[in-house]
Symmetry: C2
Subunit: 287 residues, 2 copies
C-alpha cells in the first residue's frame, strides 16, 4: 500500500473532484481561491540536522509550493504545531513567518497541541484570476514538457552530497515563477516534490496524453556522476520545482528560467529516450 | 507553561491580530471568510473507546464549532490525517464526511502522512455576511451571559458517567444556533471547549468588561450530585456549546435554546455568586 493507493480510499468516500490538483479550488467573489494542507513530521519529513527555524520554513514552503503550482498568489497560512518540547515552538514559528514574509503570505491562524513527535500542519490559501489558474489537467500532445531549476538536489543531500543541504533544508517555492507561468498560458502544472517520474505519472493519470523525456536535456545537479545525478533528478524527493507543459507557441516565457526536457505525446505512457520510464519515487510505505 | 502562555510565544512572532477569535477573518468578495485549524491526536484528544468513525466525526465537529461561534456558515473542510495504521483511514474519513454532510460543509482537500500516533488536523472555512459576524470582542456591561445546551456532559463521561458517552464521542457543533445568534445581534461569542470558566477568562482578556455568574442558573447534567455537576460545567472540557453575551433588548432569540447564567459587569473580573471564579479548566500542560 502506498500514498497513491491510500488516496483511493479517500476518493471513495469524499469523491474524486477535489483530489486531482495540488490545491482545492473554490470561488471567492470574482476570483478563485486555492487551498491546500500539508502534514509533516520529524521522523518522516524533517531530515536530521534541520534547525527549528528550517523546520518552520520548510513547513510553510511546501504549502506555498502547492499554491505556486496553480499559478496563484499565496495570501494566507494557518499552522498547527504538535510539540514534544515547547521550546521548539518559537523557532518553528519564526521560520514559517520568515518564509511567508519572503513569499508574500500572512500567517492568520493556527493551533498548538502536545504531541509525542514534532508535527507541523500548514494550510495555505491563495488567490488567482479565473483565466490564469493552472491545473494538472490540460496538457495536449505536442506541448513542451518543462521544469524549473535543477531537480535532484534535495535527494542529493540525502545521498551524501553535503553541498546540497540548503536545497533540502530550505526549499524555495517557485511562487513568482508559478504566477508568471499562469499568466503565460502553460497548459498543466504541478510541483515535483515526489520526483519527476511520479509527477509525470500523476499528470498521466488525469490527462488524455502521455509524455516523452529526452534524458540528455534534463538539468542535473553538478559534481555528481551522470548516472547517479539522473537517478536523483527522476526519482528523488524533496524538490519543489515546477513541472509543466507549455504549448510551443507560448515558449519562451519571459523571466522564468526553465528547461525543456521532453514533449507531450498521444500515447498514454511516460517514456524516456523511447523506453518506458520506471514509476517510482518518493512515497510513504504502508504495511 | 500552559496553552495560553504558549500562545504568547506565537503572538510575539506573528502578531496578535489573528489570535483573538476562534477563527481568523479575511475578506472574500462582499462577504467575510472565517478560517480555523485544529490539531487532535490519540493520546491527548481522542478518548479510549472512540471508534475511527467517531474520531473523524469529532475532528470535523471541533472545527465546525469554531466556525459556528463566529456566526458563520461552514462551507469547506480540509483534513490531514497522520496514521500509524492505514486501516484507520476509511473510518476516520467517513466520520468526518458524515459530520460535514450533517452541518452543510464539503471536504475539499487533505493530506495523508505516516505517523507514530493517529493525528487529525482539520481546517475549516466558513462564510458570513459582514454585518452578522460575531467575535469574542464586543461585550458590554449589562449584557446577558448565556450558554446553549447543558455544559459539563463531556467531562461527566470522563469522570465515570457512562450515559454521557455521546456528548464526548460525538459532539454536535451548534451551527444553526450560531448563525441565528449572529443574525440576532449577540455582542460576543465563543465555544466553551475548555470549560465555561476559561472561556469567560478568555472573553475577559479581550473585552473592556467582566462577567458575573449566578451558579443557581447554570444548567447542569442530570443524575450527578449538584456540587460535582457544577464543577463539571464550569471547569470540564470537551463540550462544544456556545457561550455568548446578549444585549437585554435582543432577548429572547427565537429558535435557539439557551440559558441566561449571568451578566456582563463593569469590573474587569469573573465572579460567581459574588466571589471570584477560579481560573482553571481544560488545558494541555507543558513541562
Amino acid at each position: 500500500m502506498d500514498d497513491r493507493e491510500l488516496l483511493q480510499v479517500v476518493t471513495g468516500i469524499v469523491g474524486k473532484e477535489n483530489t486531482t490538483d495540488d490545491c482545492a479550488v473554490v470561488s471567492c467573489g470574482e476570483r478563485l481561491m486555492v487551498i491546500t494542507t500539508d502534514m509533516l513530521h520529524r521522523t518522516t519529513d524533517f531530515a536530521e540536522g534541520m534547525s527549528d527555524w528550517q523546520i518552520g520554513w520548510m513547513s510553510a514552503a511546501v504549502t506555498l509550493s502547492d499554491i505556486a503550482s496553480m499559478g496563484a498568489d499565496p495570501e494566507y497560512l494557518l499552522i498547527a504545531v504538535g510539540l514534544d518540547d515547547w521550546k521548539n515552538l518559537a523557532g518553528v514559528m519564526q521560520g514559517a513567518q520568515d518564509c511567508c514574509i519572503r513569499y508574500g503570505a500572512v500567517i492568520i491562524g493556527g493551533d498548538i497541541d502536545r504531541h509525542g513527535e514534532l508535527t507541523v500542519v500548514t494550510t495555505g490559501i491563495g488567490l488567482v484570476d479565473r483565466d490564469r489558474i493552472v491545473r494538472r489537467t490540460g496538457a495536449q500532445p505536442g506541448d513542451l514538457v518543462c521544469v524549473t531549476g535543477t531537480p535532484g538536489q534535495a535527494q542529493a543531500y540525502l545521498d551524501g552530497y553535503s553541498r546540497y543541504e540548503k536545497a533540502l533544508f530550505e526549499p524555495q517555492p517557485r511562487v513568482e515563477e508559478g504566477k508568471r507561468l499562469g499568466r503565460s498560458g502553460v497548459s498543466a502544472m504541478m510541483d515535483d516534490s515526489d520526483g519527476i517520474a511520479l509527477s509525470l505519472y500523476d499528470l498521466l493519470s488525469v490527462n488524455e496524453c502521455g509524455f516523452s523525456l529526452d534524458s540528455a536535456k534534463i538539468p542535473l545537479p553538478a559534481e555528481i556522476p551522470d548516472g547517479q545525478a539522473q537517478e536523483l533528478a527522476l526519482f528523488g524527493g524533496g524538490d519543489y520545482e515546477l513541472i509543466f507543459t507549455l504549448p510551443p507557441k507560448r515558449h519562451p516565457v519571459e523571466d522564468v528560467p526553465y528547461t525543456i526536457i521532453g514533449t507531450a505525446i498521444k500515447e498514454k505512457t511516460v517514456l524516456i529516450d523511447g523506453r518506458q520510464l520506471e514509476k517510482r519515487g518518493y512515497q510513504h510505505c504502508w504495511e
